[in-house]
């Protein structure tokens, strides 16, 4: 038996498989529009683009580090207590993020209020830990985290753009619709501020996505 046969061919850093980890969650396997996870926060904090952006960034950070840590520890965690271990890791990271937000963007942190803490229960994070990080090496786990957090984030921001623009005539807190429109009888759409409209907006995104990407349509 020759020894050279056992040397593994090293996978390139951005192999096709790894690239898919990054790009799949953006569209074909989007955590919000396809898996319908993390809807709670998508409805709650998409009133303003700024909030949505900070939320998306927080989730990105928490996801990368929790995926990385769980992936590093994957052979040490006994499978019986894995959920509690994952929770401790995610909770610790969320507290860190929360403190950073409070220190640097206090006003946004105040608006996000309880929803920063609720990142702990965001199903996307737990889902990725369970489904991916526990069974994969650190590097693919990080890619997976970035991909899913980006997939979550772009939906969040698109919904927030619609809601802030039509709901209060602003983007990133800056008045976009000029005063002359209001003088002509334009009104902000109050329904856009309410959570039901976030659900409908997500629904419309799903509708558009599926009509463009026909392989997503289930046969029934």
């Amino acid at each position: 038996m020759s020894e050279t046969a056992e040397v593994k061919v090293k996978e390139p850093l951005f192999s096709k498989k790894n690239k898919k980890l990054l790009t799949d969650p953006l569209n074909d396997d989007n955590p919000i529009t396809i898996q319908v996870l993390g809807i709670c926060s998508a409805l709650a904090i998409t009133v303003q683009v700024k909030q949505a952006f900070v939320m998306a960034l927080s989730v990105l950070v928490v996801m990368i580090f929790s995926n990385l840590i769980v992936s590093l520890m994957r052979n040490l965690i006994p499978s019986r207590v894995r959920i509690i271990v994952q929770l401790v890791i995610v909770a610790a990271l969320v507290i860190l993020v929360d403190q950073v937000l409070k220190a640097f963007v206090y006003d946004v942190s105040k608006q996000l209020s309880v929803f920063v803490g609720l990142i702990i229960t965001n199903c996307i994070i737990m889902g990725r830990l369970e489904a991916f990080a526990l069974a994969n090496k650190p590097f693919p786990s990080i890619l997976d985290a970035i991909g899913n957090a980006a997939g979550y984030g772009w939906i969040l921001i698109v919904v927030a753009v619609f809601r802030e623009f039509f709901g209060s005539g602003k983007l990133w807190g800056i008045q976009v619709i000029p005063q002359s429109f209001y003088d002509f009888g334009y009104f902000n759409n109050g329904l856009m501020i309410l959570p039901p409209m976030a659900l409908i907006t997500v629904g419309i995104i799903i509708w558009v996505q599926r009509s463009r990407n026909t392989k997503l349509i289930e046969s029934n």
Partner: protein, 396 residues
């Protein structure tokens, strides 16, 4: 009629398979079936021979709404001149003013709604049907006269796309489309859908808005203050508020004020068998029961409003007759209809009295029961099945 037939026949080849406008066949089909009896007949098996089809059903409902529309047009003018302090203005002037205000809303509602129907019909290749004829009339009738036209357009667009087309078009919607439009406006632009300023057009002849000196509050809004003392737009107390509300000479949404006109519509719907009398009757009973319960407690003025007045105030009559009986969104089983109507009556009065921020509880009650209707039907059918099963076991 011949001229239409010739015109249609001459353009038909363009729309048939292989023609250059093949994609637009649904649009052609819509015009043809609207103008003429469709030429196609059922070609398999036995079928029921009856002249009634979707087109005739819808037209009958539209005819039933005509009295409410005409009265609404007059009342818009009447309230306007009353608020300006000129109640003796000629009848035709009131009609003319009302028509000038109301007809654009009707036109916008139809234009936008039918436009959406045509676009979806052409994209999906299904035939365009007459479902929107009723909705297009209901939307203006349940709006205040002061509503800007672009809002009517946005609401109609939203209601037809999100309320109907995403579910698969006419006959597939869960929520009443016209009420979806109204609810959209109510939550999106509350300042223009409620309050005291929106029900009467107070633009003076000089084009200025009358600032004060009139009362634009609806009877429902006034009920929060007192159950006996109501004033009209000129600030004069109604001597007999019940008959004023029954006749409809009160501020309110365009078509909802006159219970008399609505009852004429109800008679047409019941006589032709298109509207369910069970839903209407049980809705009225539900409203009466809830009002009487409130009367028994009577801890605030709104609870003291006599039960009979609750039925003629606001949009209760309009909602029960035209909205609740929508055959698509109502319960389908006979027993289900009784439950459905009764609960609409109960909830309508309950929301109205308990939450002064939502004086028009009828809208929310009907939308809520629209959602519940399939559940009601499910349990009615299950109940029937288990009853029959029991009978089988006894026999065996």
């Amino acid at each position: 009629m011949n001229i239409f037939r010739k015109l249609l026949d001459s353009v038909k080849p363009n729309f048939e398979k292989g023609g250059k406008l093949e994609k637009f066949y649904p649009a052609y089909d819509a015009f043809e079936t609207f103008l003429f009896v469709p030429g196609h007949t059922a070609n398999t098996g036995a079928h029921i021979r009856d002249a009634i089809d979707l087109k005739r059903t819808m037209i009958t409902v539209v005819i039933a709404m005509i009295p409410a529309l005409l009265f609404g047009i007059w009342n818009t003018g009447y309230q306007h001149f009353l608020a300006l302090g000129q109640p003796d203005t000629a009848f035709m002037d009131m009609i003319a003013f009302g028509a000038m205000k109301v007809l654009p809303i009707v036109i916008v509602s139809y234009a936008v709604g039918l436009g959406v129907e045509f676009v979806f019909g052409i994209i999906n290749g299904h035939s365009i049907n007459e479902g929107f004829l009723v909705t297009g009339m209901l939307i203006p009738l349940c709006l205040p006269v002061g509503i800007p036209l672009w809002m009517v357009a946005v609401a109609t667009l939203f209601a037809v796309v999100i309320g109907k087309e995403v579910f698969g078009g006419t006959g597939m919607n869960i929520l009443n489309v016209a009420l979806t439009a109204r609810a959209f406006l109510f939550f999106a632009y509350p300042t223009l859908m409620s309050g005291d300023k929106v029900w009467i057009d107070t633009t003076t002849a000089a084009g200025e808005t009358l600032a004060d000196g009139y009362t634009g509050a609806t009877l429902l809004a006034q009920s929060t203050e007192s159950a006996t003392n109501y004033v009209n737009a000129a600030g004069v107390q109604f001597t007999d508020v019940f008959s004023a509300a029954f006749m409809g000479t009160i501020p309110g949404s365009i078509g909802e004020t006159s219970v008399l006109a609505i009852l004429i519509g109800a008679a047409i719907l019941i006589y032709t068998g298109i509207g369910s009398w069970r839903i209407m009757l049980s809705g009225v009973i539900g409203g009466l029961v809830m009002s009487l319960i409130f009367n028994a407690f009577a801890v605030n003025p709104f609870m003291e409003v006599p039960a009979i007045n609750q039925l003629v105030f606001g949009g209760f009559a309009f909602g029960i007759v035209f909205m609740a009986t929508d055959p698509v969104t109502a319960a389908q089983t006979t027993r289900g209809k009784w439950i459905y109507g009764f609960l609409i009556g109960i909830f309508a009065i309950m929301i109205r009295v308990f939450n002064p921020a939502y004086p028009e509880g009828v809208m929310l009650a009907i939308l809520f029961m629209n959602v519940m209707a399939p559940l009601i039907d499910h349990y009615v059918i299950r109940g029937n099945v288990s009853k029959r099963l029991k009978r089988v076991k006894v026999a065996a």
